[in-house]
């Protein structure tokens, strides 16, 4: 009885239609795998391209804003130039002061403030930064990095 069951199982395994189905299954599995990887690759590449384009546009925008900033600064300087301020002061009824008209008041601890241009000398200029790898890495590079440095944690 035992031997008969083994014989039937063996015969089933060796059935030609069974072998063909296994091949077809394996082929389809491989095809699905390749399709998934291709889709993932396409998705990542498309995202990277979009991000790159966005970066380019932002850089153009930064340049335009810097130009506008320079223009506004110069325009402001035009409006507050010595000649313009003097003209406006005279129109408002002011006149140049004379030495005898000045009062000097001692203010303990007072020191003349630094000009704004010097106070503003903080790190406002962006340094040359490289893009995060997420924006430029290929899928293969990403896999390689994960394997080298371990883990697939987000």
């Amino acid at each position: 009885m035992q031997a008969q069951a083994t014989q039937i199982t063996h015969a089933y395994k060796q059935a030609p239609w069974r072998v063909q189905r296994q091949w077809v299954g394996a082929f389809l599995l491989a095809l699905i795998g390749i399709a998934m990887i291709a889709a993932l690759y396409l998705d990542v590449t498309a995202r990277a391209a979009m991000a790159g384009r966005e970066i380019q546009e932002l850089r153009f925008e930064i340049t335009a804003i810097q130009r506008a900033n320079a223009d506004l600064e110069t325009e402001l300087a035009d409006m507050t130039s010595t000649a313009a301020m003097q003209r406006r002061a005279l129109e408002l009824g002011y006149r140049p002061v004379k030495p005898g008209e000045l009062d000097y008041v001692p203010v303990p601890g007072f020191s003349a403030p630094e000009p704004a241009i010097l106070l503003a000398a903080e790190d406002t200029v962006p340094h040359d930064q490289s893009l995060p790898p997420e924006y430029s890495q290929s899928l293969i590079e990403w896999f390689d990095e994960r394997i080298k440095f371990g883990g697939f944690q987000p």
């Binding site: 590449t45 990277a48 391209a49 979009m50 991000a51 790159g52 384009r53 970066i55 380019q56 850089r59 810097q66 130009r67 506008a68 320079a70 223009d71 600064e73 110069t74 325009e75 402001l76 300087a77 035009d78 507050t80 130039s81 010595t82 000649a83 003097q86 002061v97 030495p99 005898g100 000045l102 000097y104 001692p106 003349a112 000009p115 704004a116 241009i117 010097l118 000398a121 903080e122 790190d123 406002t124 200029v125 962006p126 340094h127 040359d128 490289s130 893009l131 924006y135 430029s136």
Partner: protein
């Protein structure tokens, strides 16, 4: 039957394999052919473009943060010839908006050289004009009218000077090729301009990271006080008109650290229109007479002769001198400015009455070695080292030079036969106002780059005289100014100073009708905070410094104490005592 089918299948498979192999071979051959290389290089050409990234030129501010030189956007207006549809409409429109003639524009559009795809019609076009053109293009686009197809605008910076001519002699200017000329713009051109970078800019968005960031040029903060500069220029202009002088210069410096607070000279030019340079100046030395033009200064140099003699111990303030009206030096007779004999004088009297004979006697007593040693210590014959382009260094003839004569020892003592720039005089006399320490004049206060600030330290240029000598002479000059009832005085403030009236050398000897008038002064005497040098060329209202340069000094000193918040002496002493 089955076997026959199998053979046919094999033949078919073999045929397909051969075809497939042929296709692969052909692919490989094409990929590696010469034509493929050409196509690849063409593809690379369109994959991006070489672009030159010019940094924004650094700005220039005065010490209180007022913008003196900035940048504004202008446009290059050009036409892509391949996209142009209607040259007549384009020529008419651009001619109208850009102030060109229709024929001129059309000729350039139609007759452009072979192979040109883009042509610049006009550069440095203002934003207003470009905005109007862009609005017109938009209207045509909305109407799907292609008459202005191909018209393009490329923005870039242009130097802009909000104060137009203010401090033009100090700032210099920038031409359209981006190079600075004269003054700060030339001296610090490399710092201001930054480093242009030429890079390949890919169109592939995946390579966006390869576009470099170009840091802006260094921003400079100057020691100039804009408001004082404006006042000084105004006073100078009025003085030229009032006294009929050809040109002039006024410098205000802090004697404690060499910071130039104001430096006015004539003529000045609107820096936004540097094209008028050649109509204003015959040569570069005239651009800033304060540093570029050496002249015989006359009696202002007596301050230094006296400083040297006091320091060397040749004379003391109470040393007596009998002025007979003339003295023989090197076989030549030297006389006083009015040819009179002033009788017995002490050294304060010699300064007060500006006696040439007394000064020639002093230098003779010192001897050539000692006198010229001091004059060299005061920096004569050498540039001051100020951070402005175009500095002259004057000429101090010394024994041994082929054109030096013994009489020069006498004439040099009262400022004839020696040439100096106004700034050299100011630097030399700073030793008297600053306890014997001579300061190096400078215009740069601070540099700002990448968010960091670098302050420029003050430098001493040596100590040509002792501190005691400086204090003694300071007092002597204050007394001589007070006793002379000089028009240089300023009520409420004790000042020290000296006039200078110099004859002008010509090819035929000294001009007897025209003079250069100068005045050097500083204050407050007990704590000098400002020094002023005035030079007026060939005044016609009076040839004397006491009647021309001295009142100008007083006006400048008045504005200086107001704008620098220097209280009158009595109030200052009261405040100090609290």
């Amino acid at each position: 039957m089955r076997q026959q089918y199998a053979v046919r299948s094999l033949i078919l498979v073999a045929g397909l394999v051969v075809v497939a192999l042929a296709v692969i071979v052909q692919i490989i051959r094409i990929q590696n052919s010469e034509q493929a290389m050409i196509f690849l290089s063409q593809g690379d050409r369109y994959a991006g473009e070489f672009s030159m990234f010019y940094p924004e030129r650094g700005e220039i501010y005065d010490r209180n943060g007022h913008l003196l030189a900035g940048n504004r956007t202008v446009f290059e207006v050009g036409v892509s010839l391949n996209e142009m549809r209607d040259p007549d409409a384009m020529a008419y429109t651009l001619g109208t908006y850009l102030g060109l003639t229709y024929e001129e524009v059309r000729n350039r559009l139609i007759n452009s050289p072979d192979g040109w795809e883009y042509i610049v019609v006009q550069d440095y076009v203002g934003a207003d004009t470009v905005t109007s053109l862009q609005e017109l293009m938009q209207q045509l686009d909305d109407a799907e009218d292609p008459r202005l197809s191909g018209l393009g605008f490329k923005p870039h910076y242009q130097r802009s000077y909000p104060e137009t001519a203010l401090a033009s002699n100090v700032l210099g200017f920038v031409t359209r090729d981006g190079r600075g000329y004269f003054g700060i713009e030339e001296k610090y051109n490399d710092l201001l301009a930054g480093n242009p970078v030429q890079v390949w800019v890919p169109r592939d968005p995946n390579k966006a990271m390869e576009i470099p960031r170009v840091p802006n040029g260094t921003t400079l903060v100057l020691t100039l006080n804009r408001d004082l500069q404006a006042k000084v220029e105004s006073i100078l202009d009025e003085s030229l008109s009032k006294y009929g002088a050809e040109n002039g210069t006024v410098i205000v410096m802090d004697p404690r650290n060499g910071e130039i607070l104001a430096m006015a000279a004539t003529p000045r030019m609107n820096l936004n229109d540097y094209g008028n340079y050649f109509s204003l100046y015959d040569n570069g030395s005239q651009y800033n007479r304060s540093i570029g033009m050496a002249y015989e200064p006359g009696s202002v140099i007596k301050v230094l002769t006296m400083a040297a003699a006091l320091d060397a111990g040749t004379v003391r303030p109470d040393t007596s001198f009998i002025d007979t009206g003339s003295i023989d030096v090197g076989g030549i007779t030297i006389q006083n400015w009015n040819r009179d004999a002033w009788g017995q004088q002490n050294m304060i009297g010699c300064l007060q009455h500006s006696l040439n004979v007394c000064m020639a006697w002093i230098s003779s007593q010192m001897g050539t070695h000692s006198f010229y040693d001091y004059m060299e210590r005061f920096g004569f014959g050498h540039p001051t080292g100020i951070d402005l382009a175009g500095e002259a260094m004057g000429r101090l003839k010394v024994p041994g030079d082929t054109d030096w004569y013994p009489v020069d020892l006498g004439t040099n003592a009262f400022g004839q036969g020696v040439t100096v720039t106004p700034l050299q005089m100011l630097m030399a006399v700073s030793a008297v106002a600053n306890d014997g320490k001579m300061v190096t004049p400078h215009v740069l206060y601070s540099m700002l780059r990448d968010g960091h600030q670098y302050n420029v330290p003050s430098q001493y240029a040596g100590s040509p005289i002792k501190a005691d000598t400086a204090r003694t002479l300071n007092e002597m000059l204050a007394i001589s100014l007070e006793e002379e009832s000089s028009s240089a005085l300023l009520p409420g403030y004790r000042l020290a100073g000296k006039t200078g009236t110099a004859q002008i050398p010509t090819d035929f000897g000294y001009d007897t009708f025209r003079t250069n008038v100068s005045f050097i002064g500083w204050g407050p005497v007990d704590d000098p905070q400002f020094m002023v040098y005035v030079w007026l060329q060939k005044p016609t209202a009076s040839i004397w410094s006491s009647e021309t340069a001295a009142p100008v000094f007083s006006q400048v000193a008045e504005q200086t104490v107001i704008l620098l918040n220097i209280p009158p002496d009595n109030i200052r002493n009261q405040l100090a005592a609290k």
